[in-house]
């Protein structure tokens, strides 16, 4: 468990945040300049706060009143930066082993080569960072941090320099890392889609202050609709390839891969893991089961939440996995739906993007 109460005064900017984070994945969300990275740097120890205290698993790593300051190299916190910050003079293997080598032998809980294997890097060990793709670099950065078996993993906009396809893949790796190694994570991002996809809790920071701390979709879409400023939200979910015909491929999604959706034909073998992305504005909501439609996907679900402000509406629908659907105020009124109602999600197979996991 991580608890902090951090004040940082800097060039006219004041960061003043406190919270207790559980062992899940906590997203720190907010506009750029809100103080997200500053908070992360204070926790990691690369920035000295002006006041407050930081505690990780019962150990104080910083306390202004008790004059405690643990140097970053002794905090046992792994950090993954936006562009990886890999050591360009070392090959992938040396990068991954960098921190692991510095551990006393009895504290080496993870084998760097197994970590590399887990992140799909086994064939890249001899490469230098400059010969890697952006996605590979991020996986090396994650492996490098993991290999030190940290008590906490910090991720500072780890997907910001990647394109859409690679984002889904890295998100998926991070989820698997969390499931496998049970490491608490703090994930800094300004993308609602990413946060909703990966985090169990989200903290909204604005102008150096905590504005909310809640379930990601509840907090972020509520806040975003209030501000009238939501980027095109993407529902990003894990999936498994099912049957294929000449033109269509079925992908199983949902908590236990119980929901089948149709996508354009994918050149993939059944059973292959993928990441599926559907824009919130690509989905049509129907109050009753529609008949005779060209759209290939008609999926029944239950409305679990509705946010509405200034003509813009987001609903959350549980179809075995919670999907966010964007519609207009008028459409909501005409449909006459509210929380708890059965609805149908309708979308074309061509609206679904499928990426390698």
């Amino acid at each position: 468990m991580i608890s902090f109460d951090v004040q940082l005064l800097r060039d006219g900017f004041t960061l003043d945040v406190s919270a207790e984070l559980d062992d899940g994945i906590t997203a720190v969300f907010g506009p750029s300049g809100a103080g997200k990275s500053s908070l992360l740097n204070c926790i990691a120890g690369s920035v000295h706060p002006t006041g407050g205290s930081i505690q990780i698993d019962g150990h104080k790593v910083y306390s202004a009143t008790e004059k405690i300051w643990v140097a970053p190299e002794n905090r046992r916190i792994g950090t993954v930066y936006q562009d990886g910050a890999l050591f360009p003079h070392l090959d992938v293997r040396r990068n991954i082993e960098f921190g692991w080598r510095l551990l006393p032998e009895n504290e080496r809980r993870l084998d760097p080569l197994e970590v590399a294997e887990f992140l799909g890097l086994a064939h890249l060990l001899e490469r230098k960072p400059n010969d890697l793709s952006g996605g590979e670099r991020q996986r090396v950065a994650i492996a490098r941090a993991l290999a030190t078996s940290p008590n906490l993993l910090l991720l500072d906009e780890p997907l910001a320099s990647l394109d859409g396809a690679r984002r889904g893949s890295i998100l998926n790796y991070l989820k698997r890392v969390h499931a496998e190694f049970k490491m608490p994570m703090v994930y800094v991002s300004h993308s609602i889609s990413e946060v909703v996809s990966i985090a169990s809790k989200a903290m909204l920071i604005r102008d150096g202050k905590v504005e909310g701390y809640d379930r990601p979709s509840a907090l972020l879409l509520g806040a975003a609709t209030a501000g009238g400023d939501v980027d095109s939200f993407q529902n990003i979910v894990d999936g498994v390839i099912g049957e294929s015909t000449d033109h269509l491929t079925t992908v199983q999604i949902g908590e236990s891969f119980s929901v089948n959706i149709s996508t354009r034909h994918q050149n993939k073998t059944p059973g292959e893991r993928v990441v599926v992305s559907i824009g919130a504005n690509q989905i049509i909501l129907a109050a009753g089961e529609p008949q005779n439609l060209s759209a290939r996907n008609i999926i029944k679900g239950v409305v679990t939440e509705i946010w509405s402000k200034q003509g813009k509406v987001f609903t959350e629908v549980d179809i075995g996995h919670k999907y966010i659907v964007e519609l207009t105020e008028n459409a909501l009124k005409d449909l006459g739906i509210s929380v708890g109602n059965d609805v149908f999600l309708v979308f074309k197979s061509s609206s679904v993007d499928v990426f390698d996991a």
Binding site: A44, G45, S46, A71, P72, E73, N74, R75, R76, I77, G78, T79, Y81, Q82, D83, G84, A85, F87, P88, H89, F98, G99, L102, L103, P129, N130, S133, G134, R137, R144, A145, T148, S161, L162, D163
Partner: protein, 231 residues
């Protein structure tokens, strides 16, 4: 010819000792100037660069005062060895070190600036202390610039004349370096012997500068390709 060889040998010895001093000191100063924020940084920068702006004779004169029996270096050396350092090869090495220091600091500062500080931050987060981070991340990434700076300092020390002749004199076999020997031979009208040593100076200078420029070019290319991150 024999005296030529011993003159060149003494010059190399003085320049090597001077370089042995300027490498760690230059790195410390460059690191302070590039990586640290502190009061008096501006003053330190000016003081370190001052030898570039002063006539070497003035530096030699100030150094003579420092190593003489009234200066603090002179008093320390007197109590330790029973004599001052004035007119010894050590004084010549000191003069060469001071004159070459600004070049070394500037080269090192440029080399350090080329290393992304986020890599140092990342190394610290991975459990590497500040010293280990310097030797395993910073130095390996800056080494071409560091070697180039060391070479530049070394050739500057080899060619030092003005400060050396004031503080160490021009004593054959004891403090006479290549430049001061050339000066003596020109004064005596022995032009052939002067040309021989001048040729040695040119060869050493050209070789060192060629290697220096090659290293700087390599490190510029290297840094370009290491800064990649965004696709």
């Amino acid at each position: 010819m024999n005296s030529d060889i011993s003159i060149v040998a003494l010059s190399l010895q003085i320049a090597l000792i001077a370089t042995a001093v300027t490498l760690p000191l230059g790195m410390l100063l460059a690191w302070l100037l590039v990586r640290k924020k502190f009061r008096g940084k501006f003053v330190l920068d000016v003081v370190v660069s001052l030898p570039l702006a002063l006539p070497p004779v003035v530096i030699g004169y100030a150094l003579l005062w420092l190593v003489g029996s009234n200066g603090w270096i002179g008093q320390v050396s007197k109590s330790l060895f029973g004599s001052t350092l004035a007119f010894t090869w050590i004084a010549a090495a000191l003069a060469a070190a001071i004159v070459s220091l600004p070049l070394v600091v500037r080269s090192f500062a440029a080399a350090l600036s080329g290393v992304d500080t986020r890599l140092e931050v990342a190394a610290r987060g991975l459990g590497s202390g500040p010293w280990r981070t310097f030797f395993t991340v910073t130095l390996p990434l800056a080494y071409r610039g560091v070697i180039a700076g060391g070479l530049l300092g070394f050739v500057r020390a080899l060619s030092e004349f003005g400060a050396t002749i004031v503080v160490a004199g021009n004593i054959q076999g004891r403090t006479q370096t290549v430049p001061s020997a050339i000066f003596t031979r020109i004064s005596a009208g022995d032009t052939d012997a002067a040309w021989r040593l001048a040729l040695v100076s040119v060869v050493l200078g050209v070789a060192a500068l060629a290697v220096h420029n090659w290293l700087i070019k390599r490190s510029a290319n290297g840094n370009e390709s290491t800064s990649g991150g965004a696709q």
